[in-house]
Structures are given as C-alpha cells and as structure tokens.
Amino acid sequence: MIRRDFSERDIHMALDGELPSDERAAYDAWLDANPEMKAKSARFTADRTALRAAFAGVLDEAVPARLRKVVLGEAPVKAAVPRSRWWLAAAAAVLLVAGGLGGYLAGVDGIGQEDPAEDRLAEQAIAAHVIYAAEKRHAVEVLASDKDHLQTWLSNRVGLKLVAPDLTANGFQLVGGRLLPAGESKAAMLLYEDDKGERISLFVTVESAENAKGTYASAQDGPRAVYWLDKGYGCAVVGSLPREQLAVVAKSAYGQLLAGLAS
C-alpha cells in the first residue's frame, strides 16, 4: 500500500476519478480516520449527484430545429459574429443572483474581485445606513424643514449639484441629511421615512471612475443596497424593504438625482 499524506485536494481528485488506483486503499483508510474529511467528501459527492440530476433532462430534450438547421446548412451561415444576446442574460443573471445571495458572496474571496469600487460604495452606504437610520433623534444633521439649506450645503461639500429626490409617490418623506466621509472624499446621505417608520437612505458620492450597477447586501438579514456608478459619481439606495419595492424606490430616486445633477 502506498504511504503518503492526503489532503482535501485528494477528496476532489478521488471524486473526479483522478486518484491513482494504487493510492485508493490508503486514501479510503485516511478518510475513515478523519471523520471531518469523510463528511466533506460525502457532501461533495451528494452535490455532484444533485448537479448531474439537475441537468440530466437536457440530454433527452429534442434538439431545437434552429440548431439542426445551422449544421445542415438549411440556414445561411453567417460570419461568426455573436449576434445573439445570450451574454446579456448571463450578465444580468450574475447581478441578480449576486443581489440575492450577496450576504454569502460578500464573504467569498474572488467573487467581487473585478469590481471593488462598487462593493466599496455599497459597503459604505450600508454602514452609514445601519448607524444613522437607527438613530431616533440624531439621524440627520440638517432637517428636511431646512431643505434648501440642506441641498446647498451638501452640494457644496460633496461637489455636485444635489437635489433631494421627492419620494412621496413611493410613500417616503425626506427626514433630512448629513455629510459623511467616503474613502478619500465625501458623501451625502439623505434619509427618508414612511408612515410606518421604515427608513431608507440615499448615499451619493463623487468618487467613481467606472460604470456599474447592481444590488449588494453585506449580511444575510441586513439591509440591501441598490447602487449605480457612473463617471464622476456613485449612488446607492439602502433599506430593508422587500427587494422589488426597494428597486422601484431606487429607480425613482436615481432618475430624480440624475435630473438634478443635470439641472
């Protein structure tokens, strides 16, 4: 029997049929001696079974006529330019799933590696929301009753023309706003409240160099951020509303913010 040290790597190799057959007995003995590894192996095996089952039906489906036609030459073969838009669906699916499972993804390395800027914006916005939206009397620095001053002050400090969106159509009234640090620059936070006391906040900063859009949650049951980044500014709407409702409010807020910036 071959003697060597085994590791988690071997669990994958064994599962994928890549473990040399003369090492199998020693590997099995190692598994038996390591209940934790054995449990891990069992979970991965079950996941593989489930994966295969989930896609098994595809092989039995009739091949769509359009695909047969491409091969049989009944349709003109175009130059190999991807004219289909399948990749848009892929990109959208990534965003949506990331929103729904964001709590987990936030903790996994490598997932957000392409887009640290938007994660940072969303994290700052969520952190601000968690701290200030919970405050009863000190949630904002300037109250909505002083809205003109609030807008002028925040616009000057943040460095872009900020018009507080009117979200009454969505059931939310402006409570007020405050100035916050955001990395090396500043951010404006506008707080809104509905008649049940549910609060959402708008986080706007000038620090952004790229285009991005999505949803983000830093904790499983924590508030979610819907964010946009464009050249020169970034915006996030944060709240614990149901996802669809938050998306609607966020869209309304973003549209008005954009109109305000351009005014």
Binding site: L51, V63, L72, G73, P82, A91
Partner: protein, 172 residues
C-alpha cells in the same frame, strides 16, 4: 450528409447541457450553442482528423462564453441593462424543476464563470482533468484549484440557502 456534420449534430445535446449549466436561461443557452455551431461550421477546416468533435466543439463554445463574459465585465455592459430586463431574466425557467434542482442551479449560477465552467466540465460533462484543462486553456493546477474552490463555494451557497429556509420556517 458528410461525416463531420453528422458528428457535430451528435454533440448538440451535450453542448446544450453545458450551455444550460453556464447560463440557466434556456433560450440564452441555445443562443450560445447556435453561436458555437456557426463558428464551428465556418472553421470546419481547422478541425483536425482524429480530434474528438466533442473536445473541439466544447473548446469553441467555452471561448465564446468566456470572451463575452470578460467583455461584459470590462465594458460594464451589465450597467446598461434596465432593471426590467434583469427582472425578466430572473423569471424561473419554464420547465418544472424540483426545489433541490432549482437551489443547486441557482447556486451554480452564483459562482464565478471560470469556476463554474471548470466544475461543470469535470463533474457533469465527465471530462478528465487533462481534457478539461486543455479545453479551458489553463494549466492543470489552475483547473484543480478552480474545481476545489468552485465546490467549496457551491456548498457554502447551499448551506446558506438551507439556513435561510430554516429561518423562514421558524418565523412562520
């Protein structure tokens, strides 16, 4: 019908399964297969005698998939998507899926495209490490680490889903 075309036709079910695991949405997946077939037919001459049609076609399709995913990331195409379009894509697939299948398919979609492709190649499509590394165009070590991380990530997501379901049940 010439032999090459017959061989390609025979691979369509496998290509569709791979595409479905990468993209979930049935029409989008078939669009990817169609792009792959069109490219393959234009390049029939590049297909060397004796080379497995499966490996040749999977390589073409994988490159189409990864190239586009990279472009999407770089150009921020996703940012241009109106919310409604994204919501439409999120509609569950039309076929009836068991809850377990739906959960694992959702989780698979949530892991990074590179890891998803590596894991699916080996765990569903049954390619060896050497074949999969060749198709994906990465060293064997990279392939192995993508598979290992992909599996870990998938399991983490499934644990997370189960936990959330438990919380919901308790809340009722």
């Amino acid at each position: 019908m010439d032999e090459k075309k017959a061989a390609i036709l025979g691979e369509i079910p496998r290509l569709r399964r791979y595409a479905r695991s990468l993209l979930r949405d049935r029409d989008a997946a078939d669009d990817l297969v169609q792009d792959c077939l069109e490219r393959a037919l234009v390049r029939l001459d590049n297909w060397q005698t004796g080379e497995s049609p499966r490996r040749w076609l999977f390589t073409i399709m994988h490159h189409l998939f990864i190239d586009q995913m990279r472009k999407v990331n770089r150009r921020g195409e996703a940012a241009m998507l109106p919310l409604e379009a994204g919501e439409a894509v999120a509609q569950p697939a039309e076929q009836v899926e068991s809850i377990a299948s739906r959960e694992i398919i959702d989780a698979l979609q949530a892991i990074s495209p590179d890891r998803r492709a590596a894991l699916v190649m080996v765990a569903i499509e049954g390619f060896s490490y050497a074949e999969a590394a060749n198709i994906l165009g990465v060293p064997a070590g990279t392939l192995m680490s993508r598979i290992a991380r992909g599996r870990e990530e998938l399991r983490g997501l499934l644990d997370d889903t189960a936990r959330r379901r438990a919380i919901r049940i308790v809340e009722k």
